[in-house]
């Protein structure tokens, strides 16, 4: 028998995260007949609206209202969950900056197994949950078998499960706040600092020349800038380029960087990790140039070229310059 499934739903400004419907879809792939329970934590009128809104997709919505839960501090929310969640269940949590904070510790405290960042769920077989994960930045996938004997906490990759339509239900909100008691934590939230705007706003450009670790050295960044200059484009990048301080943080595309919506995206020496792809929206025309023919970026690109960017990009720049000088004449 499939254990009961709980879905942790985050929210912001009175609106439930997209993960609410994605994780519902994920739960249905564990068992089509399951009626998962949403669990939400927060406080205030906006939070009440979130609970109400979830009634159209979840049969049961467990509401954890507490003054100390106004900000989603995972350390406090873990404690709150432990007060209400029964054991031996499956708990689904989004694999985002909050889930990474909450879930591993939650699994220990629930004495449940833990599987992180699943991209596919293949149902329950005997007392095992079969799932698919990726390793090495998406270069390989692996089937994993998770022992459900004492339940499981599973984090689910955002965007991996497509929400199903017309699953309308008229669920009920069950207020569990009374079970929370006092909630304190040795980690106290102070404030959120909004990322600084950089010299160039990559979110406003139609063409992005995006460079990854394949650019190899700070001195080579100019190669991409020259191409961007002839195209009237901007240079963006993946995370390692920012980590190495070759470009400012404001140039980073991805889940911990900017979300961009260009028309054309040239991914140069970028492998195509999901945290990077998460920042590319609006279905642009993606060109991937990478010296490894098996790089995962080729699975999402429209056009792929296997080449060394340090040689390819300057030649591309020259070609465009030539064309421009011809038309200028």
């Amino acid at each position: 028998m499939t254990p009961r499934i709980f879905v942790y739903v985050g929210h912001k400004n009175g609106i439930a995260d997209d993960c609410a419907v994605e994780l519902l879809a994920a739960a249905k792939t564990i068992s089509p007949i399951t009626r998962p329970t949403a669990v939400v934590a927060g406080c205030g009128p906006e939070f009440d609206r979130v609970c109400e809104s979830l009634r159209s997709s979840y049969a049961e919505v467990w509401k954890l209202a507490h003054d100390n839960l106004a900000y989603p501090n995972a350390e406090l929310i873990r404690k709150a969950l432990l007060k209400v969640l029964p054991s031996n269940n499956i708990v689904l949590v989004p694999h985002d900056h909050f889930g990474i904070d909450l879930a591993p510790g939650l699994s220990i405290k629930l004495n449940a197994a833990f599987v992180s960042d699943v991209v596919q769920l293949e149902g329950v077989e005997g007392s095992a949950l079969n799932a698919v994960r990726q390793e090495f930045g998406g270069q390989v996938s692996t089937h994993v078998r998770c022992d459900l004997a004492s339940g499981a906490v599973v984090t689910v990759r955002p965007g991996a499960f497509k929400p199903a339509d017309n699953m309308l239900v008229s669920g009920s909100v069950i207020d569990k706040s009374g079970e929370l008691g006092t909630l304190t934590s040795a980690r106290r939230y102070l404030q959120t600092l909004v990322a600084e705007a950089g010299d160039v706003d990559i979110t406003k450009h139609n063409v992005l020349i995006s460079i990854g670790r394949g650019i190899q050295d700070k001195d080579n960044v100019g190669i991409a800038q020259e191409l961007a200059d002839v195209l009237g484009a901007a240079v963006s990048c993946s995370r390692p380029v920012v980590d190495a301080k070759w470009l400012e943080k404001s140039r980073q595309v991805g889940s911990s960087g900017k979300t961009v919506k260009p028309k054309v995206y040239l991914a140069c020496g970028i492998s195509g990790a999901f945290q990077h792809l998460a920042g590319i929206k609006g279905n642009p025309f993606i060109v991937a140039i990478n010296k490894n023919p098996k790089a995962p970026i080729f699975q999402v690109a429209d056009v792929g070229i296997v080449d060394d960017i340090l040689e390819f990009l300057p030649e591309l720049t020259n070609k465009i310059r030539e064309m421009q000088s011809v038309t200028a004449k």
Partner: protein
């Protein structure tokens, strides 16, 4: 401050193409270049910088085998005072919970004010740090991208959240933090530094030294197991341009122009 950094040796993804072995029960490990996991190296650098400011010492620990000693030496060449190997045949095949249990047993024998891990190992699940914290009943913060020591009892930490925003919190010591890449600029380790620590003996502890609960470690104790590795066949793949470089450039220019990318 006494700081423990948990580190792991992984195949270096920036140096290797990862492929499957012939029985697809593992990746092909012949000829892989290994190095210290990227975020773990940032964690060691962060620990060294904290100790530079406040005093104390840095210990680096890994659960692994003799081969993994090389990363301990590397981190000692960076400036860590001690490198510790936790190794036992019984540990082979442990899942994340197993690794965290072994680390917990080690922590319980010493006294550390601060424990750092990397956010995630390249072949990992971003789990060991959070699990270790829960087992120790220490507060935890993940994805940490700056640390300020307020006093002997509290840190001010920043977590990286969506859009590059920063979540600032205070956290009481002792605690566990998982360190994100980019938090600092790890110092360079030269050959001379490596040679200076090459002959040091690395203390090694096994299951009985640590008093590890045998039921949670090793393959038998693992609740999560890999069944196989594979490379998924994906529906959509790129149109690969396979002409000469010149031909590819011409075609690319055409395509990009058609998409409005040329002005």
């Amino acid at each position: 401050m006494e700081i423990l950094v948990c580190a792991r040796r992984v195949p270096d993804t920036s140096e290797n193409e990862i492929t499957l072995n012939s029985t697809t029960n593992d990746i092909e490990r012949e000829e892989l270049v290994y190095s210290v996991n990227e975020s773990d190296n940032y964690a060691v650098e962060e620990a060294l910088q904290i100790v530079d400011r406040t005093g104390g010492s840095v210990t680096v620990v890994t659960v692994g085998s003799e081969e993994d000693e090389e990363i301990l030496r590397r981190e000692m060449a960076m400036g860590a005072s001690h490198g510790i190997l936790l190794s036992d045949p019984a540990f082979t095949g442990s899942d994340g919970r197993g690794i965290a249990s072994i680390l917990k047993a080690f922590v319980a024998q010493g006294h550390y004010d601060l424990i750092l891990t990397g956010v995630q190992a390249d072949d990992g699940a971003a789990q060991v740090g959070g699990m270790l914290a829960a087992m120790l009943d220490y507060p935890f913060a993940s994805l940490v991208n700056s640390i300020e020591v307020l006093d002997g009892k509290t840190l001010k930490v920043s977590r990286e959240i969506e859009g590059g925003n920063k979540e600032i919190s205070e956290i009481d010591l002792p605690c566990v933090l998982s360190i994100q890449t980019g938090i600092n600029e790890p110092r360079y380790v030269g050959m001379r530094g490596i040679r200076a620590v090459a002959s040091l003996t690395i203390p090694t502890y096994g299951a009985s030294d640590l008093g590890v609960d045998a039921s949670v470690v090793g393959k038998a104790g693992a609740r999560v197991q890999r069944v196989d590795y594979y490379v998924p066949a994906l529906g959509k793949t790129a149109e690969m341009l396979s002409g000469s470089r010149e031909e590819n450039i011409d075609r690319l220019v055409e395509l990009v122009a058609a998409k409005g990318g040329l002005q």
